[in-house]
Amino acid sequence: MKKTLGNLFIALIYIILYAPLLVMVFFSFNEAKSTTVFTGFSLKWYAELFSSSDTMTALRNTLVLAVTSAVIATVIGTAAAVYMYKLRSRAWKASLDMVTNLPMMNPEIVTGVSMMLLFVFVGRLIGASNSLSFGTLLIAHVTFNLPYVILNVLPKLNQTDPHLAEAALDLGSTPMEAFFKVTLPSIMPGIVSGMIMAFTMSLDDFVISYYTTGSDFQTLPLKIFAMTKKTVKPDMYALSSVIFLTVLVLLLVVNISQIRQEKKDQGK
């Protein structure tokens, strides 16, 4: 009896969690323009979606931004993690930790507004009429991506055996070689998961982008926001369903590779 109640409770939570997603997928196939009254099955919103140059531009923008910001954040963040790992000064380490955590603790809207004000301020100083552009958006995305990379790489560094790198040095390799041949391979899983996380964060970000982008560069979440200001046609639901499917596949790949990795580790 107790168990049935528990399972009912679990089922109820999942129903609520998935209700809006089901509504979205269902109405993306609606024949009519409405997102509340279903009149018949149709794929026309998907067809419209893929033929809309506006949407395709936004999609391309989103991907370009996510890839670029994730790669930059991964390079700077991995270097920073190695630096922080080797730090001896406790006070300095603590303050760097705080700076790393700050963008994650601060509400997104504050991060967005603060960066926008910086860009506007600098823009006024140099006399530019419109300082917000792809560049500022990229800076903002790298900034909020950095903590995710660092927090994924640092634990991996803590797990590695420091004697291995020392052994490499003793055997005559340069510090550079020791890093690239010994340390880097062992922290690779952390770097990859940090990069994937940064990529998805950037893909999904609305609030910070909303404040830091210029009018000439629109990403998908920004487009969705603009669309939801008016009454929405099912094309937005079609778009969201496509994004959701993509993320689902990405997530499955990551999960499966993780399970494989765990099995491999257990086999050792």
Binding site: V23, M105, I109, F206
Partner: protein
Amino acid sequence: MKKKSLAQQILGAPYILWSALFVIVPLVIVVYYAFTDAEGAFTLANVAKLREYKEVFMISIEYSFIATVICLLVSYPFAYLMSRKKGATQRIMMMLVMLPMWMNLLIRTYSWMNILEKNGLINNFLGLFGIEPLKMIGTPGAVIFGMIYNYIPYMILPIYTVMSKIDVSVLEAAEDLGSNSFSKLRRIILPMSMPGVISGFTMVFVPSVSTFYISQKLGGKIMLIGDAIEKQIQSLYNYNLGAALSLVLMVMILICMALMKKFAGDSNDGLIM
């Protein structure tokens, strides 16, 4: 030795520079804007104007606090039940909890609007039985529900993480020593899961109290701090007042965090028993 430390400096330099320029400086600029007028002269007018927003701040804190507490009350038993399942089931259940988070918040919220609105799915369904449409959009309840819905995974995840680490043998030992379910909960599960509860609390409260999209779509005319900031910055272009509002929001949250941390520190000491 000296060479090594130079190499180390080079590794850290880009990040330190980046954080200084794009994390620290922007916060200083927020303070600067909050205390100046449009021409850049010092003024306290923005701070004085904040008084008009007392109500907005109170409502935001009230709604997000209620949402956070309900999240906790739902997540706690959910995380507990989940942690008692088999390993593979736990993994799938957790993935299913996180999955909706990967759908953009804007769309999830818009979709709820379709479900709850006057001509929405629930009212259409009720209409089949001749029931008058219920007014749901534009009520505090809808905003609070939106917050709960969008952020509850942030509560379930940390609580589940600590609960799954509780050693079953500790519970069995307590049983052998004559503990009933209630004292097991009070003396073992609750104290051991406290760190998860605290991090869940902040992870739900912070985005809830600073949201603006949820209240815009589900709240009708209800205005939260996030809405006030958005309006000043994006439609009225009053960056100075927008900065003052952001500053208060940030300080408020940092104080909350510090309190939570202190609280968490205390309960961690209790963990050693």
